[in-house]
């Protein structure tokens, strides 16, 4: 794992990736700090981070698009498979390297609240709590981007899908107000999601029986639950969209609450997508 980590890090710092990512992140934070903290003289650094969070839509795909897709494109994934290292070690090494590249500019950014505090009253715990949550949210988005990169060998495709997924997640709360809140609407969406899950299982494991089985069981279960107790599904869809939003959870921190459940949620997302990435690598071996 250490070998992969070192190799990835040297790759990021030898190419432009780490610098472009760092420069963009710091530019966005700089613009935000100038608008909110300096021109409008607001003492809350959290607002800056909230302003910057939209930039993840572009920043994360820049960072993650090539992480596994490029290995496939150059056929170097075969080297990784033949070396005495496991897929878990490969994924962990690559993910830690991405986190390091993300962590470095954030370290510089975390000087800002301390600097502002010297010239005025800044509530530092809220600022640093938000920076920690900002790091966790980014880490979760990076794990999503990494998984998307493991699905294809086309870098553009990996970036495009990552941008749309993150954008969808960003707007999911605003969209939630416009989707159907009736029970049947929720059930219909759950059915579609079950089918999508089936497709994903089929794609990742190649096991058609398992894919059809899982999709069928989920569809039958939601159908039965709807038939017995339809009020369960009332307003479920908008609620679900709010709950799944990584960004919405970050705004809790911005408003000054250090919400541990959200940290747990971010960790779960990271674990889930890293697991899927490992599966996606293994699936290549099982072809």
């Amino acid at each position: 794992m250490i070998a992969v980590l070192k190799h990835e890090l040297s790759g990021y710092f030898h190419s432009l990736t780490a610098y472009i990512f760092g420069a963009f992140l710091m530019a966005f934070v700089g613009i935000g700090a100038m608008i909110y903290n300096i021109q409008q003289a607001v003492a809350n650094f959290e607002y800056v981070l909230s302003f910057v969070s939209l930039a993840f839509v572009v920043l994360v795909p820049i960072l993650t698009m090539r992480v596994i897709a490029e290995e496939r494109k150059q056929k170097t994934d075969q080297l990784l498979y033949s070396l005495p290292i496991t897929s878990v070690q490969v994924v962990a090494g690559k993910y830690l390297a991405l986190l390091a590249v993300y962590f470095i500019p954030l370290c510089i950014v975390s000087i800002y609240p301390w600097m502002f505090a010297r010239y005025g009253e800044v509530y530092l715990p809220a600022s640093y709590g938000s920076i920690a949550a900002f790091f966790m949210m980014g880490a979760a988005l990076i794990s999503v981007g990494m998984f998307i990169s493991s699905l294809t060998e086309n870098l553009g495709f990996a970036a495009g899908i990552a941008i749309s997924v993150i954008l969808l997640n960003y707007y999911s709360v605003s969209l939630a107000e416009h989707v159907s809140s009736t029970a049947f609407g929720s059930v219909a969406v759950l059915w579609v999601l079950s089918c999508l899950l089936g497709v994903m299982i089929r794609f990742l494991t190649g096991d058609e029986g398992l894919a059809y089985g899982a999709a069928f069981v989920l569809i039958a279960a939601t159908g039965a639950a709807y038939w017995i107790k339809p009020e369960l599904f009332e307003g479920l869809l908008p609620e679900l969209m709010k709950q799944l939003s990584l960004f919405e959870r970050f705004y809790t921190f911005v408003s000054g609450v250090f919400d541990l459940t959200s940290i747990v949620y971010y960790c779960t997302v990271i674990g889930f997508f890293l697991f899927l990435t490992v599966q996606s690598l293994e699936k290549r071996r099982y072809h």
């Binding site: 992969v4 070192k6 994934d77």
Partner: protein
């Protein structure tokens, strides 16, 4: 050293490798021969743990590749068909990563990198970008990577493909040199290459093992296909008459050349080629007909290969059975 048991790989309906079993012993150069699409690369990918098998197992020095991949992979150095190189790195950076991933550290890592650079003659190129290297040098970086960690077995998938003749000779020398200290398995569809460097040959066709023996023994197995070709200054019916009166000939084909001579290919049923050549010569001389050319045709690996891979292999069983006998005889 490598034991392959009932190895099978299916892609849906298509069977790429079909119930392959063989054993590779320590300290030889083995050639893995087969036409394109015969399943060479698939088999090598499964032996090295890059691909899972649908059925069967692979053991490397007693370690099961699918159950103890970590231990098994440490004994292997693999060069896939397309060298897996990071184009935006230098050979030195690349080898450092591979060495570290193979568990080498510190001074030992530096020593081994120096040694493989020397062995593959990469001196002077180690600090250039791999993307800027010629195909031959890229291939050498790929081989250097496989040599790191001093593995007992090196598996090289078509190591000389796309190289110029001088580079091919150099790489072959290197492989021969490696074969003295360790086991080398190389795949190829170039027969002369396998004949030149391999001590044992595995021929695979349509995913099945068609033959496994030393190249010389394989040639001997196919004595049936030997014959004599000659050009006679005579009429076709005269040649026919002479041949009918001879013993030890099973069949012949005749063709009239543009200059009026008759070209004949004779298949031998029994006896030595030299005896038959002599009696042919005297038979024609006795009838006052000149023989302008007389060539004894010996089966070479190429004939063996074509016969094994093109026909639907009724001979394959025989080749397999007899190869075991001759192996026993060797020991």
């Amino acid at each position: 050293m490598i034991t392959v048991e009932h190895l099978t790989k299916r892609y849906g309906e298509f069977t790429a490798v079909d119930d392959l079993s063989f054993e590779i012993e320590e300290g030889h150069v083995y050639g893995f021969l087969g036409p394109n699409g015969a399943g060479k690369s698939t088999t090598m990918n499964m032996i090295t743990g890059c691909l899972s098998a649908t059925e069967g197992r692979v053991k490397i020095d007693g370690y099961d590749m699918f159950e103890e991949p970590d231990k098994a992979k440490r004994l292997l150095g693999y060069l896939p068909e397309q060298p897996p190189l990071y184009m935006n790195e230098t050979p030195l950076e690349y080898l450092k990563f591979v060495g570290e991933a193979k568990g080498l550290k510190g001074r030992e890592l530096t020593r081994q990198i120096g040694a493989v650079i020397c062995q593959t003659r990469l001196e002077g190129m180690e600090n250039r970008l791999i993307a800027k290297l010629s195909k031959g040098y890229k291939q050498r970086v790929g081989i250097a990577q496989a040599l790191l960690g001093d593995p007992k077995i090196n598996i090289l998938d078509e190591p000389t493909v796309g190289l110029d003749p001088i580079q091919i000779v150099e790489i072959r020398d290197l492989i021969r040199q490696l074969g003295r200290e360790r086991t080398v398995v190389l795949s190829s569809h170039i027969l002369s290459e396998v004949q030149a460097i391999c001590e044992k040959v595995l021929i695979i066709a349509k995913g099945k093992l068609a033959a496994f023996d030393a190249p010389e023994n394989l040639e001997k197995l196919f004595l049936a296909s030997r014959g004599i070709s000659f050009v006679a200054e005579a009429e076709a019916d005269e040649v026919e008459e002479i041949l009918k009166g001879m013993e030890g000939i099973s069949a012949w084909q005749m063709k009239r050349a543009e200059d009026g001579n008759v070209c004949v290919e004779v298949q031998i049923a029994s006896g030595e080629i030299s005896d038959l050549s002599r009696s042919l010569f005297f038979a024609f001389a006795g009838k006052q007909k000149a023989l302008l050319e007389l060539t004894a045709k010996k089966a070479n690996l190429e004939d063996v290969f074509i016969e094994l891979t093109e026909n639907d292999m009724p001979e394959a069983g025989m080749a397999k059975g007899e190869s075991k006998e001759s192996e026993a005889a060797d020991q």
